[in-house]
C-alpha cells in the first residue's frame, strides 16, 4: 500500500532530524562540562598543592626568602586597604553617574556621548588603566607607587560596572513611584534620595560587590603602577592613639596585594614557592567566589521578592 510506505518514509525523515536534536543536546552538555571540569581541575589542583601550606602562620607572616616561613600578611592587608580606596572612589562616583544618566539627563548629544563612552570604557583592556595611572597618578599627580594610586586605578576600572548596575536597578523601579513623589510636592533630588536610592539599594550593592570582586583579582594594572613584590612591613596604621585619631599616611605607603604576591611566587623556579602560590591562589579564589556568590544570591532574592 502506497500510503503506508509514504508514512514510514516521513517517519524515518523525522527520526533522522530528531537524532540531530539528540546529538546537539549531548554536544551542548559536553561543552558545558568542559567549562565545569576545567574549573574543578583548577580548584582541585590548587587545593592539593596549596592546602598543606594553609595555616594560621601563613596569614600572619610576611613574605620571606625561605618558602616554608613565607606568608601573605602584607598582601591581604594591602588588598583590604586598596579596596577601601577603590570603593570610596568608585561607589559614589558610579552611583552619581548612574543617577544622572537615568533620572536627570535629557536626550541630547552630550548624554549620548557619555552613554557610548561608558560602554566603550568597559571594553578597554585593564592594563591600559594601569598605564593611565602610571602616567597620571604616579608621576603627574605625584602620588607615587602608593596604595592611593593603585586604589584609584582600580576605581576607574570598575566604574562602568557600578554605573551600569545603578542604571539597571533604578530603571527597574516603576514610574508610579516617581509620579507619587512628585504629586506630593517632592523635588527631584528628594524623589531620588528618599525613594529611588533606597529601593534600588540591593541592585546597586550587587553591582558594587561584583565590581570589587573583579578589582581584588586584578593584577596587571597594579604591576604597571610598579607595586613592589617583596614587602616585609605593614603600612602605617590608620588609627592613632593621640588626637586626631585618624591618619592618612597609609594612603602614600608602598604596598603589595594578593594577586601580585601570587604572581611573584608563581614566577619563581623553586617548587616550594609554587606551593605558596597555590595557597595564595586558593585564598584569592575563595574570596572572589564568595563575593560573586553573595552578589548572585542577592540578585536571586531580589528577583523573587520584588513585587511592585
Amino acid at each position: 500500500m502506497r500510503d503506508d510506505k509514504d508514512l514510514s518514509e516521513i517517519r524515518t525523515i523525522i527520526a533522522r532530524h530528531k537524532l540531530w536534536d539528540l546529538i546537539f543536546m549531548i554536544v551542548g552538555v559536553l561543552a558545558l562540562m568542559i567549562a565545569v571540569l576545567t574549573f574543578m581541575a583548577l580548584f582541585a589542583h590548587m587545593l592539593i598543592e596549596g592546602m598543606p601550606r594553609l595555616s594560621w602562620d601563613f596569614f600572619t607572616s610576611f613574605p620571606s626568602r625561605r618558602p616554608g616561613s613565607a606568608g601573605i600578611l602584607s598582601a591581604w592587608v594591602g588588598t583590604i586597604l586598596v579596596m577601601l580606596v577603590t570603593a570610596m572612589a568608585a561607589v559614589p562616583m558610579g552611583i552619581g553617574a548612574g543617577i544622572y544618566l537615568e533620572e536627570y539627563a535629557s536626550k541630547n548629544i552630550i548624554t549620548e556621548i557619555i552613554e557610548i563612552n561608558v560602554t566603550n570604557l568597559a571594553g578597554v583592556p585593564s592594563i591600559i588603566y594601569g598605564l593611565l595611572a602610571l602616567s597620571l597618578f604616579v608621576h603627574q599627580f605625584g602620588f607615587g607607587q602608593s596604595i592611593l594610586s593603585a586604589g584609584l586605578a582600580l576605581a576607574l576600572l570598575i566604574l562602568p560596572v557600578v554605573i551600569v548596575a545603578t542604571r539597571e536597578a533604578i530603571r527597574a523601579i516603576p514610574l508610579v513611584i516617581r509620579e507619587g513623589a512628585y504629586a506630593l510636592g517632592a523635588t527631584k533630588w528628594q524623589t531620588v534620595s528618599d525613594h529611588l536610592l533606597p529601593y534600588s539599594a540591593a541592585g546597586i550593592l550587587t553591582g558594587v560587590i561584583i565590581g570589587l570582586a573583579r578589582a581584588i583579582g586584578e593584577t596587571a594594572p597594579i604591576i604597571t603602577i610598579g607595586a613592589l613584590t617583596f614587602i616585609a612591613f605593614l603600612p602605617p596604621s590608620p588609627i592613632k592613639a593621640e588626637f586626631p585619631f585618624l591618619s592618612f599616611e597609609w594612603l602614600m605607603a608602598p604596598f603589595t596585594v594578593m594577586p601580585i604576591q601570587m604572581f611573584n611566587w608563581v614566577s619563581r623556579p623553586e617548587e616550594e614557592f609554587q606551593a605558596n602560590a597555590a595557597a595564595a591562589g586558593l585564598v584569592l579564589v575563595v574570596m572572589t567566589l564568595a563575593m560573586n556568590a553573595i552578589a548572585i544570591y542577592l540578585r536571586y532574592r531580589m528577583r523573587k521578592n520584588l513585587k511592585w
Binding site: G123, P125, T219, Q274
Partner: protein, 314 residues
C-alpha cells in the same frame, strides 16, 4: 460660607511659606544636578585622559624611533644595547595567543549559548548560568598559574617537545576563561528573539535543532557578533595568563608551540623591572599600550558596524 473678616486680610499669604517657590531649594536642586553631571562626565574625562596620555607619551617615543621602523622591524629588543623597536614580534604573539583562545571560546561559547537558550531544561539553566558567571569571576592570575603548572605539563604528555612556556597552553586557558563572556552575551541575544519566530518554525515542522540554527541564530546575529567581538577584545587585552604561561621573550612566530611575548606581557615585563621615568625603555610601554588600544578600538568599530548592519528589529 462667610469668611471671618478679622483673622486674615485677603491680600496676606495664607499658605505656609514652605510651599512657595524657594530660591534656596531651587539652587540646591541645581547644585545637585550639576554635581551628578560632573560624576557622569568623569567617564568621558577618563577616556580623554587615556588617549591624551598614550599619545603624549608615545610621541616622545616616536621622536626617537621612526614610525616606519616601528611597523616593519622584525625585532623587539628595546632593553638591549643593540636596540630594535619593531612591534611585529609582539603583535604576532598577541595574534597567535588570541587565535588559539578564540578557537576554543567561540565554538564552545556558541554551543553553550544555544544549548542554554534553546535546549536546556529550566533547572539546568538556573544552575549553569550562575556557575558560568562564577567562572568569569576567577582572577586571571589564578588562570595563569593553572596554565603554567597544570595545563602545560598535561600538554607535554601529548606533545613531548612542547617547551615550558608556550602560546598554546596560555591560549587554551584564555579560551576557557573567555567562554562565560561569549556564552552569556550570545545567550541573552538568542533569548531576546521573540517566541513567535520559533513557533512559526515549529509549525512548519522544523525540529528544535533546525529552529535554533536556521531561525534563532540568524535573528540574533547582531548580538552574537557583539559577543564574539567582546571575546576578541578580552583575548587581545588579556595580560596575566600570557605573562605567566607564554614566557616574556619577544619572538616573531606564528607557531603556537613556541614561547613568545604579547603586547601586554611586554608591558608587564618592563613594569617589573626598574626603568627610570622618562627613559626610552620606559616610553616603549606607552607605544605598546597605544598599539593595544588601537587594536581593541578597531575590533570595537567592526563590531559596531556589524551590529548596525545586521540588526533585526521586531
Amino acid at each position: 460660607m462667610q469668611l471671618p473678616a478679622t483673622a486674615h486680610p485677603p491680600d496676606e499669604i495664607t499658605h505656609s511659606k514652605r510651599l512657595g517657590y524657594s530660591y534656596r531649594r531651587h539652587l540646591g536642586e541645581r547644585f545637585i544636578e550639576a554635581l551628578l553631571f560632573l560624576m557622569a562626565f568623569v567617564s568621558v574625562a577618563i577616556t580623554i585622559a587615556i588617549v591624551v596620555m598614550l599619545v603624549k607619551e608615545s610621541f616622545v617615543f616616536f621622536e626617537h624611533v621612526p614610525l616606519w621602523q616601528f611597523l616593519t622591524d622584525t625585532q623587539w629588543t628595546p632593553l638591549f644595547d643593540d636596540a630594535h623597536y619593531g612591534i611585529l614580534p609582539l603583535i604576532s604573539g598577541t595574534v597567535v595567543s588570541s587565535a588559539v583562545a578564540l578557537l576554543v571560546a567561540i565554538p564552545l561559547g556558541t554551543i553553550t549559548a544555544i544549548y542554554l537558550s534553546e535546549f536546556a531544561p529550566f533547572a539546568v539553566r538556573e544552575v549553569a548560568k550562575p556557575f558560568l558567571e562564577l567562572l568569569g569571576g576567577v582572577p586571571t592570575v589564578v588562570y595563569g598559574y593553572f596554565a603554567l603548572l597544570f595545563v602545560t605539563p598535561l600538554l607535554q604528555k601529548i606533545f613531548p617537545d612542547l617547551p615550558g612556556f608556550s602560546l598554546l597552553s596560555a591560549g587554551l586557558v584564555m579560551g576557557i576563561m573567555i567562554i562565560p563572556y561569549v556564552s552569556s552575551m550570545a545567550e541573552d541575544a538568542m533569548r531576546a528573539v521573540p517566541m513567535h519566530l520559533r513557533e512559526g518554525s515549529y509549525a512548519m515542522g522544523a525540529t528544535k535543532f533546525q529552529t535554533a540554527i536556521r531561525v534563532v541564530m540568524p535573528a540574533a546575529f547582531s548580538g552574537i557578533a557583539a559577543a564574539y567581538i567582546l571575546g576578541i577584545s578580552r583575548a587581545v587585552g588579556e595580560t596575566m595568563v600570557v605573562a605567566i604561561a607564554a614566557g616574556m621573550q619577544p619572538n616573531l612566530t606564528w607557531n603556537p608551540m613556541e614561547p613568545a611575548a604579547t603586547i601586554t606581557a611586554y608591558i608587564v615585563q618592563v613594569s617589573l623591572g626598574d626603568l627610570p621615568h622618562g627613559s626610552i625603555g620606559y616610553q616603549t610601554i606607552f607605544a605598546a599600550g597605544l598599539t593595544l588600544l588601537l587594536l581593541t578600538l578597531a575590533f570595537n568599530i567592526i563590531g559596531h558596524v556589524l551590529r548596525k548592519r545586521y540588526r533585526e528589529v521586531y
